[in-house]
């Protein structure tokens, strides 16, 4: 049985409509008008133990709603979800004991207390045995490089350090599943890499299952073999990153640096999409013309100093999928 099983999850909200005008607030108080927003229109997927799965989608697409339901904060209107054999919203306290959650936007640590005090409080809250706690603590401190910050109040930490502490805090009770909501938001490049490495290593060595939401495609490319793309309340894609690329056109870009002074840069089988001085960008479809064939044609057509072949950047692909979504 999969660790997380989600079947036809549905959820809609009634959002209040606000009246404008000087007496709008009063009118709303007397006569409340609402419209129904379907946040999830029946979503189904499984996640096996030890997988790292990325959940992407435009803002308001329903991915936070899905995570909230699976984490046990919210109950759905219809459908089923089983996490580690439990229904999250029916048995919240037993459920949350076995999961860890990190929100990129807010900390779960005690703002004015030293980091180590927060960790000790979480040990009490989760009822972790002393020996297990000591062992896990030593591991997170070494792996996430936290030795120097344990005695600092959380409010004095940089965002990157704070996120590593938050991640450590979410792992102290040895959850089987970790939910990360935009974990790298606002982090600098070095902190992002450190955080991703921490997540990847921990998952690999302890068999931790990770479900993360993000808008940073590097998070996905670095961490996730599998992507769930949610848009407009539906699961548009459940597959690998390459499947995501294939969803949009499979076109690639051939970038060529020419020797000076070539006027005509047309090439059969490719479309010139951009030119800056001696640098050309040619788009082509590898199904129509093989890459080596195209390169051979280019080499015989004009003098080339250098060339590279690139997939379309994943951001562009995702943006196009969002735009094409119904």
């Amino acid at each position: 049985m999969a660790q997380i099983e989600v079947r036809g999850l549905r959820k809609s909200f009634r959002a209040p409509l606000r009246s404008s005008g000087p007496f709008g607030a009063l009118r709303d108080l007397l006569h409340r008008r609402t419209r129904t927003v379907e946040a999830l229109k029946g979503i189904t997927f499984d996640i096996e133990a030890g997988q790292i799965v990325g959940c992407i989608g435009p803002n308001g697409a329903g991915k936070s709603t899905a995570i909230k339901i699976i984490a046990g904060i919210m109950n759905p209107d219809g459908g089923e979800a089983t996490v580690l054999g439990r229904t999250p919203w029916a048995d919240r306290i037993a459920h949350v004991r076995h999961i860890g959650v990190v929100f990129g936007q807010r900390t779960q640590l005690w703002w004015d207390l030293p980091v180590i005090d927060s960790f000790a409080l979480l040990r009490e809250i989760y009822g972790v045995a002393r020996r297990d706690y000591d062992e896990t603590l030593a591991d997170v401190v070494e792996r996430f490089h936290l030795a120097e910050v344990l005695d600092s109040p959380v409010r004095q930490l940089s965002l990157g350090l704070r996120m590593r502490c938050d991640l450590a805090a979410a792992l102290l009770h040895r959850p089987s599943i970790l939910f990360l909501d935009e974990p790298t938001i606002g982090l600098d490049a070095v902190s992002k890499l450190a955080l991703r490495e921490a997540i990847r290593d921990w998952s690999a060595e302890r068999g931790l299952t990770v479900l993360l939401t993000t808008h940073d495609m590097d998070d996905i490319e670095d961490l996730c073999r599998r992507v769930l793309l949610i848009a407009d309340g539906s699961l548009l894609l459940d597959g690998a990153i390459d499947d995501l690329r294939r969803m949009s056109s499979a076109r690639r870009t051939l970038m060529i640096d020419l020797a000076a002074g070539v006027a005509n840069a047309e090439l059969e089988g490719a479309e010139l999409v951009r030119r800056e001085g001696d640098r050309l960008w040619l788009e082509y479809d590898p199904e129509q013309v093989a890459t080596h064939e195209l390169i051979a044609r280019a080499a015989s057509a004009f003098p080339i100093r250098d060339l590279t072949v690139a997939d379309r950047p994943i951001e562009e692909v995702v943006a196009q999928v969002y735009r094409d979504a119904p």
């Binding site: 709603t65 904060i73 949350v96 409080l121």
Partner: protein, 271 residues
């Protein structure tokens, strides 16, 4: 069951200690607030004392008797207030989504809120209430025996339960509306003010409200009849005077049930 109670008591202690350590980071504010609370509550009883000094007495009530009512209510209120801060800030937590974090921890949410930001600086009211209660008890001429001491303790605990229940109810409303609900302060802070005076000075509908709907009279005015051995005070059968303060615990339990309903609603609306 006992193990679970002990575990929760220990966690409460740790969380409360953490709150105090956090507040200790801002020592000046801590000291000033404690002092101002003490002064404010002293001034409050000073006003009652001044009434007596000027007008002699409320009909049939000595100052020491009023001091007992005042003391019970204030000690109970201070105890409830110490654990109510979390409920005070709860509407804001719903708005910002911070309440989600409480739902992700393996503890009941009401428990977490009661342990959230426990305010030791509210000792001002507690100390002042206790002092006036002791002073009143010594002056009021009660034949103190074990039963009466126990009754007084139950009154204080029962009162704390009722005030705590009112704080819970006030916070529960935030599950339904994000509007500011200071109107409920009428029964919390207002209830404390009300309970500081003998019930006989109020109009019947008002007395009925604070006896049946919000049973604050049951934790000080009614049992005072038993404490003073003056059954005529409450006009109730003598055993009821003794049993009345026991309503505190069921009142709090009922409020927590309503809280659960609110929590279920939150889970289905997410706001």
């Amino acid at each position: 069951m006992i193990r679970s109670v002990r575990r929760h008591a220990r966690i409460y202690g740790r969380l409360a200690a953490a709150s105090v350590r956090s507040q200790w980071q801002y020592r000046a504010s801590f000291a000033l607030y404690s002092a101002s609370q003490l002064v404010a509550t002293l001034a409050e009883f000073g006003a009652i004392w001044a009434l007596y000094a000027r007008f002699g007495s409320l009909p049939g009530w000595r100052l020491s008797e009023v001091a007992v009512l005042y003391g019970i209510s204030n000690v109970a209120f201070a105890l409830a207030e110490a654990g109510a801060r979390g409920f005070d800030v709860f509407p804001g937590m719903v708005r910002t989504g911070d309440f989600d974090r409480l739902l992700l921890r393996p503890l009941p949410t009401a428990f977490q809120l009661a342990a959230h930001d426990v305010q030791i600086m509210r000792v001002g009211r507690l100390a002042q209430g206790a002092a006036i209660l002791v002073w009143g008890c010594m002056g009021v001429g009660i034949q103190w025996d074990a039963a009466r001491v126990a009754l007084l303790a139950i009154c204080v605990v029962g009162g704390a339960c009722i005030f705590a229940g009112l704080f819970v109810l006030q916070a529960t409303l935030a599950f339904w509306t994000i509007e500011s609900l200071e109107v409920v302060n009428i029964v919390t802070y207002g209830g404390n003010q009300m309970a500081q005076y003998p019930l006989t000075i109020y109009r019947p509908w008002f007395r009925l409200f604070f006896t049946v709907a919000v049973p604050l009279a049951a934790i000080n005015y009614v049992p005072l009849a038993a404490l003073l051995s003056r059954p005529d005070l409450s006009g109730l059968p003598a055993p009821l005077n003794w049993l009345a303060p026991c309503v505190g615990a069921p009142f709090l339990a009922a409020c927590l049930r309503i809280w659960k309903l609110g929590e279920r609603r939150y889970a289905s609306t997410g706001s």
